[in-house]
C-alpha cells in the first residue's frame, strides 16, 4: 500500500512537472484541441437535440397540446364537452383544456374573378377549427403568433383567422399554387362547408405558428360560428377533440394513463402518438445525431491519440532515463496516464466554459430562424456527462497505448534507439 501510494505520488509529481514546467504553448494547444473536441461533441448533438426539442415544443404548443382527447372510433363528436373539460381539469397535473369543433372547408379567395367553377386557382380544402379564443389562448400559442391583423374574439361570427400556409404570400413556405395566393388582412374569403353551407368571412388575422406541417395549414373561426354552420342545437356543446395542457412537458404518458383511469369513454392519447411523420423525422435526426456523436468521439479520440503520441514520442529518451535510473515502469506509465487524464479534464472544463459562457448565450440571444421555430442549443446534462466520460476514457486509452508501446521497448532502445 505504501509502495503504491509512493509510486502514485511520484507519478503525479512527474506528470504535473512535465505538464506545467514544459512548453507552455504546447500545453495550451493540447488543452485547446481537447476543449474544441469536447465542444464539437456537445455542439453538434445539441443542435440536433435543439431541432428535436423545437419540433416537439412547436407540436405541443400549436397543434396537439400534451394530451388529445377524441371520440371513440364509432362516434364523431364528444358530447357535453364542457362537463368533460370540467372533469379533466380536476385531474392533478392538468393546467388547462380547450375544445375544438372541427370541419373541413373549401376556401376561396378572389372567387369573383374566377373563370370556370373548377378553376382552383386561389382556393383549396383546409381544416377549419371552431375554437373558444380565450380558452384556446391558454392551451396553444397560435394567438401569440399573429404576423398580421388580430386573433379572434369570442363574439366574432364573420371573421376567420388563417394560417400563413393557407393565406400564402411571401412568408409562406408552401408553393403559391397550393395556397390562397397571398390573402391580406381585411380581404374576404368564401368558405363552403361539407353540408353545403357557404359563408363569407373577413380575414381578421394571419398567424405563423412555425409549425409548417400542420398548424400553419389551419384556419380558425369561433366555436359559436362553427356551431351555427353545423347546426344548432345538435352541435351545441359538442367537440371534435379536447386538448389538455399538462403542468410540464414529458409527463404526457402518465397523465394520459391517469385520465384513462377516470373512466371517460373517450380516446385519450399522448401527443407523441399523433406525431406520425414527425416521429420518423425525429427518429431520423436521432440516428443522425448518434452517428455524428460517435464520429465526433472517434475524431476526438484520434486527435487525443495523436497529441499524446507525439508527446510520448518526443519524450522517449526521457522515459528511457527514468527507467534507467530505476523509476518503476508503472510509475512512468502512470505519469503519462495522469497527463492524458489531465489534458482531457482541463480540455473538458475549458470546453464546458466555452459552451456555457459563449455558445449557449450566443444562441439564446441569436436563435437560428428555422421554418419550424427558433432554434437554440438543447444542451442536456446527461449528454455533457456522457461526452465527458467518453472523452476521458478515450484520452486515457489514447495515452495508454503509446506509453505502453514505449514502455515495452528495451531501455537501450528507448535511450539510444538501437
Amino acid at each position: 500500500m505504501k509502495t503504491l501510494l509512493g509510486n502514485l505520488k511520484l507519478a503525479f509529481f512527474l506528470a504535473f512537472k512535465s505538464m506545467f514546467k514544459g512548453n507552455k504553448w504546447a500545453l495550451g494547444l493540447i488543452i485547446v484541441v481537447m476543449a474544441f473536441s469536447f465542444v464539437n461533441l456537445i455542439f453538434t448533438s445539441s443542435v440536433i437535440s435543439g431541432v428535436m426539442a423545437t419540433m416537439d415544443n412547436q407540436m405541443i404548443n400549436t397543434v396537439f397540446s400534451n394530451v388529445i382527447i377524441s371520440p371513440r372510433e364509432d362516434k364523431y363528436y364528444i358530447e357535453r364537452a364542457d362537463e368533460v373539460e370540467a372533469k379533466i381539469r380536476q385531474i392533478s397535473g392538468v393546467t388547462e383544456t380547450c375544445s375544438h369543433l372541427n370541419s373541413s372547408g373549401f376556401i376561396e379567395y378572389g372567387w369573383k374573378e374566377k373563370g370556370l367553377p373548377w378553376d382552383r386557382v386561389k382556393s383549396g380544402n383546409w381544416n377549419i377549427l371552431g375554437i373558444d379564443p380565450a380558452q384556446e389562448a391558454k392551451v396553444t400559442t397560435i394567438g401569440h403568433n399573429m404576423i398580421d391583423g388580430q386573433y379572434l374574439d369570442e363574439t366574432d361570427t364573420n371573421s376567420i383567422v388563417l394560417g400563413v400556409e393557407v393565406a400564402g404570400g411571401e412568408k409562406a413556405q408552401t408553393s403559391g399554387f397550393l395556397t390562397l395566393g397571398g390573402v391580406n388582412v381585411g380581404d374576404k374569403v368564401r368558405v363552403t362547408y361539407p353540408n353545403g353551407i357557404q359563408r363569407e368571412y373577413t380575414v381578421k388575422g394571419i398567424f405563423r405558428a412555425r409549425e409548417m406541417m400542420q398548424a400553419d395549414h389551419l384556419a380558425f373561426v369561433t366555436n359559436r360560428e362553427m356551431v351555427s354552420v353545423l347546426g344548432r342545437p345538435q352541435f351545441f356543446n359538442r367537440a371534435s377533440e379536447i386538448l389538455v395542457r399538462a403542468e410540464n412537458n414529458g409527463i404526457e404518458d402518465s397523465l394520459a394513463g391517469e385520465l384513462r383511469s377516470t373512466g371517460l369513454d373517450l380516446e385519450i392519447r399522448s401527443w407523441r402518438e399523433y406525431g406520425g411523420a414527425y416521429r420518423s423525422v425525429i427518429s431520423t435526426f436521432e440516428i443522425i445525431g448518434t452517428i455524428i456523436g460517435g464520429t465526433g468521439l472517434i475524431v476526438a479520440a484520434i486527435v487525443m491519440f495523436i497529441v499524446i503520441y507525439i508527446n510520448v514520442i518526443s519524450k522517449k529518451r526521457q522515459i528511457g532515463i527514468l527507467r534507467a535510473i530505476g523509476i518503476p515502469q508503472n510509475t512512468v506509465l502512470g505519469s503519462y496516464l495522469i497527463q492524458a487524464l489531465s489534458y482531457a479534464l482541463l480540455g473538458i472544463i475549458l470546453g464546458w466554459f466555452i459552451i456555457r459562457l459563449v455558445l449557449q448565450p450566443y444562441f439564446i440571444f441569436n436563435p437560428i430562424d428555422f421554418p419550424f421555430g427558433f432554434l437554440s442549443l438543447n444542451i442536456e446534462s446527461s449528454r455533457i456527462i456522457g461526452s465527458a466520460i467518453a472523452l476521458t476514457a478515450a484520452s486515457v486509452l489514447a495515452g495508454l497505448i503509446p506509453s505502453w508501446a514505449v514502455m515495452r521497448e528495451s531501455i537501450i532502445k528507448t535511450l539510444w534507439g538501437v
Binding site: 509512493g6 509510486n7 514546467k21 529518451r317 526521457q318 534507467a324 535510473i325 530505476g326 528495451s410 537501450i412
Partner: protein
C-alpha cells in the same frame, strides 16, 4: 564487488549476427575506480550497460554484491538499479522540466526508504559544488554542471556502484577535469566503486585500474 563470467552478447540472428562480447571474465572489487577503455566497437559500452543492468546479455553471469543480477525479474532489476546502482550518462540525461534539486532527489522519492530525500539531495549537491544552483533548470546551467547534477542524482540513494558511460565526452577540458576530480574524490573519500567507460587516454591518471577491450574481449596484454 562485481564478478563477471563468460559474458556473451550477440546482436541479430543467424548469418547477420554480430558478437559484441565474446566471453568476458572480470572482477571489480568494492571501492575500486575502474576505467574501461578501447576503440569504438570494442564492446566497452555494451559491457557497461550489461553491468549496469540496462541490457541483458546473450549468455554468462553477472554477480553484483553476491546477487545473480541477470536472474532478477524486470521489476526486481529496476528496484536493484534504483537502490544499488548509480548511472551517469554521456550527456542530456537530466529531466528538463525538473530543477537541479528535483532532478537529484527524483530517485530518492522512488526509493521510499529515503524519507529525508530533500536534505540528502542538498548535501550531495553541496558535495558536487552546486549548492547555489539548486533552483536552476538544466537549460540554465553549463554542460559540466549538468554532468555534476547527473552524478549527484546517481549518488542520492547511496549506491554501492556508480557506472559512468563516457561522462566527459561532451565536455570541455576544464569541465572534464572537474567531473573526473569529483569521481576521484568520491572514490577516495567515500570508497565509492566507480566503473567508467572513457575514450580519453589522460583519464587513466584518475583511475585505479584500466580494463582494455578489443573486439569484444578483455585485452590487458
Amino acid at each position: 564487488m562485481i564478478s563477471v563470467k563468460n559474458l556473451i552478447k550477440n546482436y541479430g540472428h543467424g548469418h547477420s549476427a554480430v558478437q559484441a562480447l565474446k566471453g568476458i571474465d572480470l572482477k571489480i572489487a568494492a571501492g575500486e575506480f575502474v576505467a574501461i577503455m578501447g576503440r569504438s566497437g570494442s564492446g566497452k559500452s555494451t559491457l557497461l550497460r550489461i553491468l549496469g543492468l540496462l541490457d541483458m546479455p546473450t549468455g554468462g553471469e553477472v554477480k553484483i554484491d553476491g546477487v545473480d543480477a541477470l536472474k532478477l525479474a524486470e521489476k526486481e532489476r529496476a528496484r536493484f538499479r534504483l537502490e544499488k546502482l548509480g548511472y551517469v550518462f554521456q550527456e542530456h540525461s537530466l529531466i528538463s522540466e525538473l530543477n537541479v534539486l528535483e532532478n537529484v532527489y527524483l530517485p530518492a522519492v522512488a526509493d521510499l526508504a529515503n524519507i529525508n530525500y530533500r536534505k540528502r539531495a542538498k548535501e550531495i549537491l553541496d558535495m558536487v559544488g552546486l549548492k547555489d544552483r539548486i533552483r536552476h533548470y538544466p537549460s540554465e546551467i553549463s554542460g559540466g554542471e549538468q554532468q555534476r547534477v547527473a552524478i549527484a542524482r546517481a549518488l542520492v540513494n547511496q549506491p554501492r556502484t556508480l557506472f559512468a558511460d563516457e561522462p566527459t565526452a561532451s565536455l570541455d577540458m576544464e569541465s572534464s577535469q572537474i567531473v573526473l576530480d569529483l569521481f576521484r574524490k568520491l572514490n577516495r573519500d567515500l570508497g565509492q566503486t566507480i566503473v567508467m567507460v572513457t575514450h580519453e587516454p589522460e583519464d587513466r591518471q584518475y583511475v585505479d585500474r584500466v580494463i582494455w577491450m578489443k573486439d569484444g574481449r578483455i585485452d590487458n596484454g
